[in-house]
């Protein structure tokens, strides 16, 4: 009786979840992607899939026939044969032929994937715990790309948007119709840079520079999303990749804008900032970059990530505080933020940490202090 109740409960749960599938969009197969390579990989995938289906139909077909026909309850008497050299040869040779038929197109595709020569754009991608840095080689453009989904959305305190966990504060932009080479490496642990629609997945390994490439056809301008694919620590699930493919002229304009922004930021550091301005900027930077490890209210996390509240460095040693932001802490997860944040942002977040959550030191760290400390 108990078992029956339990069974019916679980089948109701199952039906409920199945009915919600029918309403939702079905994603059950590999993407065909937008490039020639991703298309040939999709074709390979489908080829092997149908071969497997074919073999499955034959093998399982025979099994079900046997299970139905050769039952003892139907009076079947067991034959006593136990060998056939012909059969053994047959089911060795036929699979070999099938495998060769699979290996030939796979080899061809793999050779194409490995040909990263004659690229027109080179982008160095560096994995960090838990963000990506993009460096446009020879273009003087470089930036970090962080998850922009809020922690509140993750913890179900606000509604999840359409691109939940697949959105970033700064997209990596590439031109269509050009061969773009990615040089992929890592600053700390192993990550993997994966955009399914490009069929590009390559591990980012400290000490190695891996190569991969994409050529998005003209007409396929758009936004392509992916995620880190290699377990890289606590926020492995929270370091997405967003690529915007644009026309070549838009790409050139975008590069110019980036350079102009960088100059503007350098000038801004020379300006004067009030305590309130620094606190406002600092709170934003803290929430985006620091809260994941040091806690939303500076409470720290576990034994690996120290708290900000009541910390000796935060309350007393301002030089050490600036030094940690600029140089990181060797042998720990604390990275250098010298390249990731502007002088204004570093000054603001230090000011914020020294005055928030009851750390009322009254200290103000200005962007000029940061410029000095960098030298």
């Amino acid at each position: 009786m108990k078992i029956r109740t339990w069974l019916s409960l679980s089948s109701i749960a199952l039906l409920l979840s199945l009915s919600s599938i029918v309403k939702a969009e079905w994603g059950v197969n590999m993407t065909e992607g937008v490039t020639e390579i991703s298309q040939s990989i999709y074709d390979l995938h489908m080829l092997i899939f149908w071969i497997c289906v074919g073999i499955g139909v034959v093998v399982f077909g025979v099994m079900f026939y046997v299970m139905f026909k050769h039952r003892k309850s139907k009076g079947a008497v067991a034959a006593q044969f136990d060998e056939s050299v012909t059969l053994e040869w047959l089911w060795t040779v036929i699979p070999t032929i099938i495998l060769i038929a699979m290996a030939v197109p796979a080899t061809k595709t793999l050779v194409e994937m490995y040909d990263a020569s004659d690229a027109q754009v080179d982008i160095k991608i560096t994995g960090y715990q838990w963000k990506w840095q993009y460096d446009y080689l020879g273009e003087d453009v470089s930036f970090f790309s962080n998850l922009s989904t809020s922690r509140d959305a993750v913890y179900n305190k606000e509604e999840k948007g359409e691109n939940y966990l697949l959105e970033v504060d700064k997209e990596v932009v590439i031109p269509t119709g050009q061969k773009v080479r990615f040089l992929i490496t890592s600053n700390d642990v192993i990550h993997a840079w994966w955009v399914p629609e490009f069929a590009v997945k390559k591990d980012a390994i400290p000490g190695y520079v891996n190569e991969s490439w994409v050529n998005v056809p003209v007409g396929q301008e758009g936004v392509y999303r992916g995620q880190c694919a290699e377990l890289c620590g606590v926020d492995h699930g929270f370091m997405p990749i967003v690529v915007r493919a644009v026309s070549q002229s838009d790409y050139a304009n975008w590069l110019d804008e980036q350079r102009a922004e960088k100059e503007a930021a350098a000038l801004a550091a020379l300006g004067d900032y009030s305590f309130d301005e620094l606190m406002t900027t600092g709170a934003e930077v803290y929430a985006g970059r620091c809260a994941a490890c040091h806690g939303q209210n500076g409470e720290g996390m576990g034994s690996m990530f120290p708290p900000m509240v009541g910390s000796d460095i935060v309350l007393n040693d301002v030089d050490k505080h600036i030094d940690i932001l600029i140089n990181g802490v060797a042998g720990s997860a604390m990275q250098s933020f010298a390249e990731q944040l502007t002088d204004v942002e570093i000054a603001a977040v230090i000011t914020y940490e020294r005055n928030a959550w009851g750390n009322d030191t009254g200290d103000i760290v200005t962007p000029r202090d940061i410029i000095d400390a960098r030298q």
Binding site: S10, A13, S17, L18, S20, I21, G27, V28, M30, S40, I41, L44, I48, V59, F60, V62, M63, V66, H70, R71, A76, A78, A79, F81, D82, E83, S84, L87, E88, L99, A103, A106, T107, L110, V111, Y114, V154, N156, K160, Y164, L165, V189, I190, A192, K201, K202, I205, P206, G207, Y208, N210, Q227, A229, E230, L231, G233, V234, H236, G237, S303
Partner: protein, 527 residues
């Protein structure tokens, strides 16, 4: 010396000692086999609870129940406990029970070492599990523990993990040596190699795999230990080391390891299918050669786990071709099982149901394995739920179903009672349905692009994750029924005959049920 040993042995013939010391001091293959099996069942439930915590968190997008840090500890511990604590000891337990009976021996060749190799395990896993309660938390770097995440960036509990892995390795190597020694030296007169039962053959080959690769695992964790505590840089790029070297070493162990977890399963199924088809195993010698070929190939395919690390083109091609070749001997096995059933006289007792499900679902896992072997396509599959679906299909309805099938198959021989057939079949159907609801949708979410080992996911993966979570709870709780059936069978049940099954064939079925404490005191003759 000989006389004293003989005199000492005489005292033992009264049967097992009483009380707890019987289990602590026992050198009897059946007692030790029983302890291995209970231990692995406890580990199965422990790792299973962790799996259910993972599936509960993944039931919906967003973080609801646990934090990402604890999620990573759960995925890591689930993998380690299931591989090293549940599947491997279960097969050793079955080998302990069955190998001496199948080769016509009184006991294992090295009974004292047998005791030691079991008793190491509770301490190894106790230590590993205790890290969950430490301040730094349990290991959180995945069961594959890739450096430098597991070295420079690891929680301090990694040292306990390394010590635990060393202990498990020592236990496995001793167990394997014991099995090899038993098979080489203690076969009944007339039992030539090509007359050995297939479970003995597959374990014989598995034992050699263990002896070959466990030292590699020990080496790699020792290198980690040196990196963490003694300032070396084996896997630290900043010190001139190589993080990819870790992966080569790990998978040189890791790939044979997956065959360690499946070859004995092949052996079990090769006993059950002929028994319930009432027909001899089709292609015995080709089964033996196929097992040996799979074992050989397992040493030269490791880098197919590393297709995306940036290996040179030629290396990728070699490992792709070598991996595809494994499909041939594996196919031979499946075809042989189907041919064994062909024109048999089939009945469907619980062991047979699990064995047939094994053949079908393991083959599905083999198909996804073949897809993963294709290096270009692997760039899309790698590190997604497609891989999770693949290895759970070969390990759960593969290895685990074979173990459960073996338990039902031999339980009447072990305790002299038949299990409750109705409950056994109920257990089978709940497990069969649960396992497919859990793992089949993972193919879809993997192909749709969900990476593995993430605590939270984008909204398009929500539906199939919910389905998988429901399936996991069905499957998980069904195993409590298994526990109930086993306990019930030990306590009571219809008295089993020596043959137990109508189609039974082999020395183990010539012994009374339950089998005597010292299996064969006189060597039987094999014609």
């Amino acid at each position: 010396m000989t006389t004293t040993t003989a005199a000492h042995d005489d005292h033992d013939h009264h049967g097992p000692a009483k009380g707890i010391m019987r289990w602590v001091l026992t050198t009897n293959h059946k007692d030790i086999g029983t302890m291995y099996l209970w231990f692995s069942f406890i580990m199965l439930l422990t790792g299973g609870v962790m799996a259910l915590i993972i599936r509960a968190e993944l039931f919906q997008p967003g973080m609801q129940l646990i934090e990402p840090e604890f999620f990573n500890q759960m995925t890591t511990m689930h993998g380690l406990i299931m591989v090293f604590g549940a599947i491997m000891p279960a097969f050793v337990g079955l080998a302990n029970w069955m190998v001496p009976m199948m080769v016509g021996a009184p006991d294992m060749a090295l009974p004292r070492m047998n005791n030691l190799s079991f008793w190491i395990l509770p301490f190894a896993f106790g230590m590993l599990l205790l890290t969950l309660f430490s301040e730094a938390g349990a290991p959180n770097f995945g069961w594959t523990f890739y450096a430098p995440l597991s070295t420079t960036y690891a929680p301090s509990s990694v040292t306990y993990f390394i010590f635990g892995v060393h202990l498990m390795g020592i236990s496995s190597i001793m167990g394997a040596i014991n099995i090899v020694a038993t098979i080489l030296n203690m076969r009944a007169p007339g039992m030539t190699y090509m007359k050995m039962p297939l479970f003995v053959w597959t374990w014989f080959i598995t034992a050699y795999l263990l002896i070959a690769v466990m030292p590699v695992l020990a080496g790699v964790v020792t290198m980690m230990l040196m990196d963490i505590h003694f300032g070396t840089s084996f896997f630290n790029a900043a010190g001139g080391g190589d993080p990819v070297l870790f992966q080569h070493l790990f998978w040189f162990f890791g790939h044979p390891e997956v065959y360690i977890m499946i070859l004995p399963a092949f052996g079990i199924v090769s006993h059950i299918i002929p028994t319930f088809s009432r027909k001899p195993l089709f292609g015995y010698s080709s089964m033996v050669y196929a097992t040996a070929s799979i074992a050989f190939l397992s040493f030269i395919v490791w880098a197919h786990h590393m297709f995306t690390v940036g290996l040179p083109l030629v290396t990728e091609l070699f490992f792709m071709y070598a991996t595809m070749v494994i499909a041939i001997p594996t196919g031979v096995k499946v075809f042989n099982w189907v041919s064994t059933m062909f024109q048999g006289s089939l009945t469907f007792e619980t062991p047979m149901l699990f064995a047939i499900a094994f053949v079908i679902l393991f083959t599905i896992g083999g198909f996804s394995g073949l897809m993963l072997a294709s290096a270009p396509a692997d760039f899309q599959y790698h590190d997604t739920y497609f891989v999770v679906a693949h290895f759970h299909y070969v390990l759960v309805p593969g290895a685990l179903f074979a173990i459960i099938a073996g338990v039902y198959f031999w339980l009447p021989k072990w305790c002299g009672n038949y299990y409750d057939e109705f409950l056994g079949k109920l257990h089978f159907w709940l497990s069969f349905i649960g396992v497919n609801i859990t793992f089949f949708p993972m193919h879809f979410i993997g192909l749709a692009g969900m990476p593995r080992r993430i605590p939270d996911y984008a909204l398009q993966f929500a539906d199939f994750n919910a389905v998988a979570s429901v399936g996991a709870f069905i499957f998980g709780f069904s195993q409590l029924l298994f526990l109930y059936i086993v306990i019930k069978t030990i306590r009571s049940g219809k008295q089993a005959t020596p043959e137990v099954w109508e189609g039974a064939d082999g020395l183990e079925w010539t012994l009374p049920s339950p089998a005597p404490y010292h299996s064969f005191s006189e060597p039987p003759q094999v014609k």
